[in-house]
Symmetry: C2
Amino acid sequence: MSQSDTVQRILDAAEVLFAQKGFAETSLRAITSRAGVNLAAVNYHFGSKEALIQAVFERYLTPFCQALDGKLQELEGQGAADLEKLFGVASRLALGSHGDEPRRAMIFFRLSGQAYSQPQDHLRAYLREHYGAVFRRFLALLRTAVPEVPPMELFLRVHFSLGAVIFTLSGMESLQTISKKDFNTDITAARITQQLLPFVVGGIRG
Amino acid sequence: MSQSDTVQRILDAAEVLFAQKGFAETSLRAITSRAGVNLAAVNYHFGSKEALIQAVFERYLTPFCQALDGKLQELEGQGAADLEKLFGVASRLALGSHGDEPRRAMIFFRLSGQAYSQPQDHLRAYLREHYGAVFRRFLALLRTAVPEVPPMELFLRVHFSLGAVIFTLSGMESLQTISKKDFNTDITAARITQQLLPFVVGGIRG
DNA sequence: CGCGGGGGCAAACGTATGTTTCAAACGTTT
DNA sequence: AAACGTTTGAAACATACGTTTGCCCCCGCG
C-alpha cells in the first residue's frame, strides 16, 4: 500500500518511549524494536530522529489545537467568559479530545515537560511557530475574563499555570506513589487534574 | 594537595553544561574540556558520570537544605507562621543562600527541571532519601498556616507550586525573550520570581 | 508476461560516547 | 635524597548510536 501503517506504529512507539525515557535516551533501535519495524524505516519515512520528534508532537497537537481554536472562537462570539469556563474547556479538550483514554494526554504532557526542560531548540521554535496563534487567542480571552490583572502579570501567571500543569502531569506516577506512601491514600489521575483547576484559578486571580 | 581544585572545576563546568544542554546531551569530554582538566579525571574523582550528576546536586542542595531546615526550626519555635512568610523564607534562601548571584539558583532550577522530567530514577531516589525530611518539615508548617485546606489537597497544591516555580525558573530566558517580543518589555529575573509569590499563595489558598 | 518502483530488510559505516589503562609527574613523608 | 601514594596525561577500548547502503520482495500498470 502507498502509506503503510509502519508510520503509525513508529509514532505510537516513539510517543511512549520518548515520554518514558526522554528524547536523547531513547534510541531509534528501541523505537523500531517496540514498533516491530526495521531500523531503517525511521530514516526512510521521517528523514531523521529530529523530524520524528516533531512528527510525534504534530500528530497530537494539531487535532487538539484545532479543537481548542474552534471552542475559543465560539466563546468569543458569546461575549465574556469566566476563568473557570476557559480553563475548564482547555482542560477537557486536552484530556479528552483524542477519543482514547486520558492516558494519552498524560503521555503527551510528559513529552511537553521534556521539550521544555531540555533545550530542544528546534522543537521550541517549531511549537511556537505552529501553535502560537491559539495560545495568543486564549490569552486574549483570559484578559477579558480578569481585566483587573495587568496584561504583563497575566501573561506571567499563565506561564506559571502551564508549569504547574505540565510538571504535575509529567510526574503523575511518582505523585501517586508518594501520596500512597505518605498518606496511605490511592489517588486517581482524574482527581489530581480536578484539583489542578482551583489552584490555577486561584493563582491567576492572585 | 590532598583534594585538588580539579574536583571543584569539574563540578562548576558540569553544573553549567548540564543545565544548558541536559544530562545525556552533555558529554564528559565537554565537561573536562570546559573545566580544563583531563578526561579521565571525572572517573577518577567521581567514579562515573552518574555519580558526578549526584555530586552536582549534592553540592548545591546540602547547604540550602541545612539553611532551610534551620530557619524552619526557628519558625516552629515562634508558633504559627503565615503563607507569605513561609514561602518568602524558602524563596529568599533558594535565591540567595549561596553568596553568589542568583544566577546560580537559576542554573540549579534548570537542573531540577531536567531531573524531574527526565526519568533519572537514581537521582529522584537520591533526592528523596537525602532531602525528604526538610520537605516534610516544610509541609507540616504549611499545614498550620492554612488549616482550612485538607492535608491531601495541600500536599497536591504544594506540588503544583513546585511545578510552577521549577518550570518558570527553568525557562527563564525564553520567558524573557517572549515577553520582549510580545510586550516590548524587558523583564528582570528578579521581577518574575517576585510575581511568583502571590501566584503560589493564591493557588494554595484555592 | 514483464517490469518498474515503493517499501522492507540485514548489514555495514562513521562517529561519539563512557570507561579503562598505564606510564609519567607531583608532593609528602621518612 | 629516596620512596611512596596520589593525581594527571595521552591513548586506547568497547560499545551504542544515527544514518546510509544495496538487495530483496511485491504489487500495479503496460
